[in-house]
């Protein structure tokens, strides 16, 4: 083919420019460590990278939520653990109070300790997260939820804040105080036994529910006459009766009660449904019982009944707080699980992102040296070819 001089030059320069632009691109890739400089380098890859970036950011958001939830649940767990310990001490005191050797004075000392523990419990219930947010206030956690010295009032609500910890799972970051400290009942949670103004020495020894399906939630009066007992419902209809024996279970409506001591004629006990009684009121009740006179056998029998019911309630309360603590533990476990799930997915996402975006240095370095060699060759060829002209030989 016929070659024209200016074409020869232009095409050589065009080639040099092409090589230089490829070289510049490799240089930029090596300098930034990024394979893609813009979406045009790999449109589908860049689009996936945008999606993966968002996914990675989403995992980070879940992780932030997990951290917040873990912090608050950790704080709550500490408070619950302290509360369980406190209730343990309350129980010990109740057992001591039940000991017949206590004098009015020593009972007074114990009652004072109980009052102190109650104050302590209120401060536990008003624990905050260190950032001015009360743990047990529900969604009204800007103010201390529990207040009052007599009857404790609750300023919070029953809302739970759910935090999104994975795409599909949410975890409550606290429990409302109402569910921890207030939704509690007296007696054994189903029924209570209370003594009338009895003159005999019969005191409650044991009370338990044997068949919940038979218990109807009614109120029953158990009265003694001449060594026999009789149980009447609120309509004054006799539902059971028989001879009384000390320590022997009296069964009716799915309930077993037994007594120690000897009832006097006309003595009575009331078996009725449990009523709501919060944790603070339960301690208050213990304080009240501690202050009851125990000068006569009849008085002691009455205290025994009341103390039995209080202890039962405190036991149920301890169990309840432990249950709440267990749910907190479960939620912490869910957080751990969510964290490892997020971490695993994040790792996959990052690996995918890296494979799309990051530069293979070995490949790029090899490419750089190839391009340098090619450019050098092109430059040298250009210089040699341009140096040739027939005019040089026409002299």
């Amino acid at each position: 083919m016929r070659i024209s001089t200016s074409m020869l030059q232009q095409s050589a320069i065009g080639q040099l420019q092409k090589q230089q632009s490829a070289l510049a691109k490799t240089q930029l890739q090596l300098a930034t460590g990024q394979r893609l400089q813009s979406a045009a380098d790999d449109p589908s890859g860049a689009a996936s990278a945008v999606g993966l970036d968002q996914a990675a950011a989403q995992y980070q958001r879940y992780q932030d939520q997990i951290n917040v939830a873990r912090n608050r649940l950790g704080l709550e767990e500490n408070v619950l653990a302290d509360s369980v310990e406190l209730l343990q001490r309350v129980r010990e005191i109740a057992v001591e109070l039940n000991n017949g050797t206590q004098s009015m004075q020593t009972r007074g000392i114990l009652a004072n300790e109980l009052k102190g523990l109650r104050e302590q419990l209120v401060s536990y219930a008003n624990a905050d997260d260190g950032q001015g947010r009360y743990l047990f206030g529900g969604s009204q956690d800007g103010v201390a939820p529990f207040s009052g010295n007599g009857i404790v009032s609750y300023a919070g609500d029953q809302q739970q804040r759910l935090l999104q910890v994975t795409g599909s799972r949410t975890v409550a970051d606290a429990d409302p105080g109402s569910e921890v400290f207030l939704r509690l009942r007296d007696g054994n949670g189903t029924f209570t036994v209370s003594s009338g103004a009895n003159t005999g020495t019969a005191g409650l020894k044991n009370a338990r529910l044997t068949d919940a399906s038979l218990w109807d939630g009614g109120s029953y009066t158990l009265s003694f006459t001449g060594g026999n007992y009789e149980i009447r419902d609120s309509g004054n209809v006799v539902v059971a009766g028989g001879a009384y024996a000390q320590g022997q279970a009296i069964a009716f409506r799915g309930v077993d009660v037994s007594f120690t001591g000897t009832p006097a004629d006309g003595d009575s006990f009331t078996v009725g449904p449990s009523q709501q009684r919060d944790m603070f009121a339960q301690i208050d009740e213990l304080v009240r019982v501690a202050g009851l006179p125990q000068d006569t056998a009849a008085q002691r029998a009455q205290v025994q009944t009341a103390m039995h019911q209080s202890l039962t309630a405190i036991d149920a309360t301890s169990l309840h707080v432990s249950d709440v603590r267990a749910t907190v533990g479960n939620r912490l476990a869910v957080l751990d699980d969510a964290e490892s799930q997020n971490a695993a997915q994040n790792e996959t996402t990052q690996a995918a992102l890296s494979s799309i975006r990051d530069l293979d240095y070995a490949e790029a370095a090899t490419r750089l040296s190839q391009q340098l060699t090619a450019l050098q060759a092109a430059q040298q060829t250009f210089a040699r070819v341009q140096g040739m002209s027939l005019f040089d030989y026409l002299r």
Binding site: M1, R2, I3, S4, T5, S6, M7, S11, G14, L36, S38, A39, A40, D41, D42, P43, A46, A47, S48, V50, G51, D53, Q54, A57, Q58, Q60, R61, D64, Q65, V68, A69, Q131, R133, G137, S139, Q140, D141, G142, D157, Q158, Q159, R161, L162, L163, Q164, G167, T170, D173, S178, L182, R183, G217, P273, Q275, Q276, D278, S389, L390, F391, L394
Partner: protein
């Protein structure tokens, strides 16, 4: 013997011309558009003699311009295609780098916005978290409007370049017409000999026109050339030139279109060259990407506002708009004779397509067609404010009276991104809380607890009224003491626009109360729902999240830039191939010219020698006669 002298002289004259031409070639070795020339030599036939014909020397018939009209025409087409691809690719790669750059793209502000929503959901009462959300919303909105101004700036630039390029085409057309005149004249003066260098100039000018707009040419017998645009309009007809101008479109929407001699609109039929590239970029890049950006802004605003309205702010009020509403633009054709005005609202971002539409009135009803391809779009409704015309997420309201034949251009989302603006200025107005809350009475004996309470209809006027649900049996309940409704485990209790779910089983006598949340609540019910928007589909009928749409936008711009760049490479190769062919035919090779110089010089010297011989021969004759 005088013949030999004239033969020698003919050689001298011919080779002198040949040497001149070689010199001219050498001198123009680097002149763009120059075609090498060659003197065509022919032998002169002598008169008949008894013993045959004795030649009468050499003559130069013509100076030939070595050019191939077919290659020249092909090169014009290749220039058009290359310029179109290069212009398009330049714009595409700029758009691509705006969208895919991490500093100027939408990815980061969108992520920060979702981060702030997530932060709010874990700490809804914190004024810092609320303030962060407001700032993140504002940065996101301003990034959208930055992006919009980039696109708007691009449109302005395209308009300016169109105007400028059309002016250049007009000027070149005038010059070609002038050259036509000169060539016809010069050819006549030289007895039909071609004015080679003028022809080169004219080819160069036509190539300049071709690189600006797609053309076809036809040769005339007198040496003139006619130039037509792709639509068949004569830019140059002999010695007469016409103009290309740029003016407003039929709707005065700010769009510039191309007109022939100030009259006919030839935008749709124009292709190729810089102008073709600009028009293609506007149609294939600018419009769809900008509309998509606006569609994303509309989707964000709608989804955010819808959810925000279902929450309660820190002042105890139901949430208002978080982002200001986004509306579209409608332009009435200047030729409309009715006085109707049309406005467009976006009623459902999930149904938006990102297309522009033409709305027309035929005297009895309205028709909507897609501007992109003219396909018909079904309309419902009558156009009144109460019953607007509806189609594909749009609601069009007509005021005034239209006349038959009136047309409107509907651009629903072209300016959407610039309208995105945070409507809230007071951080306490962020509706993070659920507006209602439920509680179970502490004296309840059943195991039922509140599982969740949500808002199903935030517009219910009684939403915030207090309600007591009292169980009159394990499977029946009353609402505020009246009625008896059946309940089964897992049922939702729906009253006043909220929906309550219980877990566990209620006992007779249990009660649950639902009441309005209060000011300053630290509930995060609505903040969590807002944060979930990062993973919820809001566009394309709920199939695409904003991040998906954004990835699609980046991918689309990237693919177009990549394709355009490949096309530039391909067109450059085609053009280079044709240029090589042309250079092979018409380009000057210095070595060849050097050889020619030597060859013609030798011939010239030999011819001079012939004259000397003639002289000597004649001298010998004189000498013989003298003796």
């Amino acid at each position: 013997m005088s013949d030999l002298l004239s033969i020698g002289v003919s050689g001298l004259l011919a080779y002198r011309k040949a040497l001149d031409t070689a010199g001219h070639n050498i001198a123009n070795v680097n002149t763009p558009g120059y075609s090498r020339q060659r003197v065509e030599l022919g032998s002169r036939i002598g008169g008949p003699q008894g013993d045959g014909y004795i030649g009468a020397g050499v003559s130069s018939n013509t100076v030939k311009r070595l050019a191939d009209a077919l290659i020249t025409t092909r090169l014009q087409g290749d220039s058009s295609a290359y310029s179109r691809a290069e212009t398009f690719s330049g714009i595409a790669s700029r758009v691509d780098s705006w969208l895919s750059d991490t500093d100027s793209g939408l990815t980061r502000p969108l992520q920060s916005f979702y981060d702030a929503l997530s932060g709010l959901s874990s700490n809804p009462g914190s004024s810092a978290a609320r303030q962060t959300l407001l700032s993140a919303g504002q940065s996101l909105a301003s990034r959208y409007s930055d992006m919009q101004s980039q696109f708007d700036g691009l449109e302005t630039e395209i308009n300016q370049r169109l105007t400028q390029t059309a002016d250049e085409v007009t000027r070149y057309a005038k010059q070609v017409a002038d050259l036509n005149e000169r060539i016809v004249l010069a050819k006549g003066q030289a007895g039909g000999q071609p004015p080679n260098d003028l022809l080169d100039q004219r080819d160069s000018l036509i190539k300049e026109i071709a690189s600006r707009i797609g053309i076809t040419t036809t040769d005339q017998d007198d040496g003139g050339i006619n130039v037509f645009t792709g639509s068949g309009q004569a830019l140059v007809l002999g010695r007469q030139a016409n103009s290309l101008t740029v003016g407003d479109d039929a709707y005065a929407s700010g769009r510039k279109e191309l007109f022939f001699s100030g009259g006919q609109n030839i935008t749709a039929q124009t292709s190729g060259g810089v102008i073709g590239g600009l028009l293609d970029a506007r149609r294939e890049l600018l419009d769809p990407l900008r509309n998509d950006l606006g569609r994303m802004a509309a989707g964000l605003a709608e989804a955010m506002n819808e959810q925000h309205a279902q929450g309660m702010d820190a002042k105890g009020q139901m949430g208002g708009d978080f982002f200001a509403d986004i509306g579209g633009s409608v332009y009435g054709a200047r030729a409309n004779t009715g006085n109707a005005t049309v406005s467009v609202g976006l009623s459902d971002a999930g149904a938006l397509t990102g297309d522009d539409y033409n709305l027309s009135y035929n005297g009895s009803g309205w028709q909507l067609t897609r501007a992109r391809d003219g396909s018909s779009v079904a309309l419902t409704g009558s156009g009144t404010a109460g019953d607007p015309l509806r189609a594909e997420g749009l609601s069009l309201t007509v005021g005034g009276t239209p006349a038959a034949g009136d047309r409107y251009l509907v651009k629903p989302t072209a300016q959407g991104a610039s309208q995105l603006r945070v409507a809230i200025t007071d951080a306490s107005r962020i509706a993070a809380a659920s507006p209602v809350r439920a509680s179970a009475a502490l004296s309840n004996t059943g195991s039922a607890t509140v599982s969740s309470i949500g808002v199903s209809d935030a517009s219910n006027s009684s939403l915030l009224s207090g309600v007591t649900i009292q169980f009159t049996g394990p499977n029946t309940y009353s609402v505020n003491g009246s009625g008896s409704f059946a309940f089964a485990a897992g049922d939702s209790i729906e009253v006043n626009g909220w929906s309550l779910k219980l877990s566990g089983s209620p006992a007779s006598g249990d009660s649950f109360s639902v009441s309005a949340n209060t000011a300053g609540s630290n509930d995060n019910g609505n903040a969590r729902a807002l944060a979930k928007l990062s993973t919820v589909g809001v566009l394309d009928g709920g199939r695409s999240t904003l991040a998906d749409s954004q990835a699609a936008l980046v991918g689309r711009a990237g693919a177009q830039a990549q394709q355009a760049s490949l096309q530039v490479d391909a067109q450059a190769a085609v053009k280079a191939q044709t240029e090589t062919e042309q250079a092979s035919m018409s380009g000057v090779n210095l070595d060849e010219e050097a050889a020619d110089l030597v060859r013609y010089q030798q011939a010239y010297q030999a011819a001079a020698r012939v004259i000397a011989v003639a002289n000597e021969v004649f001298q010998s004759l004189l000498d013989a006669a003298r003796n």
